[in-house]
């Protein structure tokens, strides 16, 4: 009635500031980006309508196509091992001992470092003339592998770096998921004389299904957008062997000033990430019974 009239709009005062920024700094650029992708535009503001020209050019551009392949290769090389290792770590470290807490701390510590620190560290592990791995190899009597200059080795090298860097977050997610499992279920399984492997397969794993899906979805989306490691460690080389899509976008926009072209590539990446994420979601949840 009375105070209600004013109160009905009081809510706007509270959500307003955020919403304003949200619209101006996120939604508006989002729409602008779509528009840009249909233009010939450079970084200095000149715009000309291009229709679907950028997209057509992209799909015929061997550099871009190679970057798609590289991006997918990297994601495939990173996500499964990362998920598996994180799961194993979470299982092993899901206990209340002091040692487990210390180990958890160690495995998570790499995640708080920035990408520039990580690439600095790993550059001098991977590089064949002064790197740590090179010393290890020569000590074993092997030739040091030119990780960063051999096209066939460069993607695995980036993958290893990224896995080292990214372990923390998925491990934490799995730990949280494990802790949500009702311990009574394990006791019931013990009473049903279930062995360790059976318990894992039939009880732990199904209970972790949602977490597993979350980890895979988040990591896939993140690794499809891999940027810093390749920009700093390899520069996309050698010869474009490690150029990812985001690096391509960066080079097109800030190297060659082709803003429209780069925007179109960005939109395509957006669609790719969205499609793969939704596909993963659909594949897993369609087999779940309706809740």
């Amino acid at each position: 009635m009375n105070a209600d009239g004013r109160a009905r709009y009081a809510g706007f005062a509270f959500v307003g500031p955020f919403l304003l920024l949200y619209l101006v700094i996120l939604i508006y650029p989002l729409l602008l980006g779509i528009g840009l992708s249909f233009d010939h535009a450079d970084l200095f503001g000149a715009r000309r309508w291009a229709g679907i020209d950028n997209y057509v050019r992209l799909l015929a551009d061997p550099v871009f196509l190679r970057s798609i392949v590289n991006t997918i290769k990297l994601a495939l090389l990173i996500v499964p091992p990362l998920t598996l290792i994180a799961l194993l770590l979470a299982l092993a470290l899901n206990r209340a001992t002091r040692a487990a807490a210390i180990f958890r701390g160690i495995f998570f510590s790499s995640s708080v470092l920035s990408v520039t620190i990580v690439t600095l560290i790993w550059r001098f592990i991977l590089t064949p003339d002064a790197g740590l791995l090179a010393y290890g190899a020569t000590a074993l009597g092997l030739a040091p592998a030119p990780f960063l200059s051999d096209p066939s080795l460069v993607i695995p090298a980036v993958a290893i770096t990224t896995i080292w860097w990214s372990l923390g977050f998925p491990t934490m997610l799995f730990l949280a998921g494990l802790q949500q499992i009702n311990p009574d279920i394990y006791e019931a399984a013990a009473l049903d004389r279930a062995g360790k492997w059976t318990t894992f397969r039939r009880i732990t794993l199904p209970s972790l299904r949602r977490t597993l899906l979350l980890v895979v979805m988040l990591q896939t989306a993140a690794q499809l957008q891999l940027f810093g490691q390749v920009q700093l460690l390899t520069g996309g080389g050698p010869g474009g062997a490690s150029r990812t899509m985001v690096l391509f976008i960066y080079e097109a926009a800030f190297g060659r000033w082709e803003l429209g072209y780069a925007s179109a590539a960005a939109e395509l990446l957006f669609v790719l990430v969205l499609a793969i994420t939704l596909l993963q979601y659909w594949l897993v949840t369609r087999r779940e019974p309706e809740r």
Binding site: M1, N2, A3, D4
Partner: protein, 364 residues
């Protein structure tokens, strides 16, 4: 010193009518219980008085002043929530001072009121503790204290005893009764427990299905329930309602026959009774256990509850009608035993097809 008036309150949620034309008048310093099952509308009514909900139609007046348009803080009303709703991050003192500070009451006055309330409620040494450090009973006293210091014209208590275990409940009941004498204000208590209402209230407002069924003192409601619902809701164990037919009206008083053939003479005026199916209402204390054949009728015992001071005997008549009787504490009755039941017709009630209750005329 105030009085509360509710005029034709109506409230719906979506398409569901929750309160249907509710009206009531209360005197200042009266203790009224809103009694009813869940869904009867009693909590909604309380919240409308408090200002936490608005009625679709009708008025609320306190001391002649119309308050239903005012925000909750300006109605001179204080409420004790079922879950106490104490501010977890504030000490007891701050909890009690919060409302007073908002009302811009001077600091000395605030301190004085808190000290006085703390004294009365025996929470003086809890004043600097936080709610989490206190027991349930203590928290309730803080909630009451928070209401007292506001010195409102009307106290609202929402199911004050439901959260407490049995022992604490009895003790708190006594405290509430004592408290009520100390504050010079009206109190409304919402409860679903008829024993609470009976022991604490000056008047009870029995509600069911969104309407007020009866308003009266506890004794009135117990002795003269307005309809079958009130008759069965108040009083434990519930009154037996057995189908009966009118056979005679000797001396103007109705005489009825039960479904198993037994006849009971009542003191209810026959000419006031409506035509149609009747039900005879018997409280357990009106039915006593005797030797088979020596009473008004015979029955088979289904269940025996020994309470110490009396024994409740749940029995079935020959035709299957359930009936509850009361026997002395050391009764030897057992399950399956055939007993005689002596019915005191003078204490009987009759309910017509419209559920309205008819009661014995007072002896002249």
């Amino acid at each position: 010193m105030t009085s509360l008036e509710l005029l034709n309150i109506r409230k719906s949620y979506g398409g569901t009518r929750v309160l249907d034309d509710v009206s009531l008048e209360m005197d200042d310093c009266e203790f009224v219980a809103f009694l009813g099952p869940s869904g009867s509308g009693k909590s909604t009514l309380l919240r409308i008085i408090a200002g936490l909900e608005t009625a679709d139609a009708g008025e609320v007046r306190l001391a002649g002043r119309r308050i239903d348009q005012l925000p909750p803080g300006e109605r001179n009303v204080a409420m004790v929530f079922q879950s106490y709703a104490l501010y977890p991050h504030m000490t007891v003192r701050e909890n009690m001072a919060f409302g007073l500070r908002n009302a811009r009451i001077p600091k000395d006055e605030i301190d004085a009121r808190i000290a006085q309330a703390a004294e009365v409620l025996e929470i003086k040494d809890q004043l600097d503790k936080k709610p989490a450090q206190m027991s349930g009973g203590q928290r309730q006293r803080v909630a009451i204290g928070r209401a007292i210091v506001k010195q409102p014209g009307l106290f609202l208590l929402d199911e004050p005893l439901s959260n407490l275990d049995a022992a604490l409940r009895t003790r708190t009941r006594v405290e509430l009764a004592q408290l009520r004498r100390r504050v010079a204000a009206a109190v409304i208590m919402v409860t679903h427990d008829q024993a609470e209402a009976m022991t604490l209230a000056d008047r009870i407002v029995v509600m069911n299905e969104r309407r007020i069924q009866q308003v009266g003192t506890p004794m009135e409601i117990y002795a003269h329930p307005a309809n079958a619902f009130v008759a069965r809701f108040v009083g434990s164990p519930a009154m037996t309602l057995a189908p009966a037919t009118l056979v005679d009206s000797d001396g103007g008083h109705a005489r009825v026959k039960l479904s198993d053939g037994a006849e009971v003479g009542t003191r209810i005026a026959a000419k006031a009774l409506p035509a149609g199916a009747l039900r005879l209402g018997l409280r357990p204390e009106a039915v006593s256990v005797v030797a088979p054949g020596a009473g008004t009728t015979d029955a088979e015992v289904q269940l025996v509850e020994r309470l110490g001071d009396r024994t409740l005997v749940y029995a079935k008549l020959a035709d299957g009608q359930d009936i509850t009787a009361s026997d002395q504490g050391n009764s030897r009755v057992t399950i399956g035993q055939k007993v005689g039941l002596s019915i005191d017709g003078a204490a009987a009630h009759l309910f017509g097809p419209d559920d309205v209750g008819h009661h014995a005329e007072p002896a002249t």
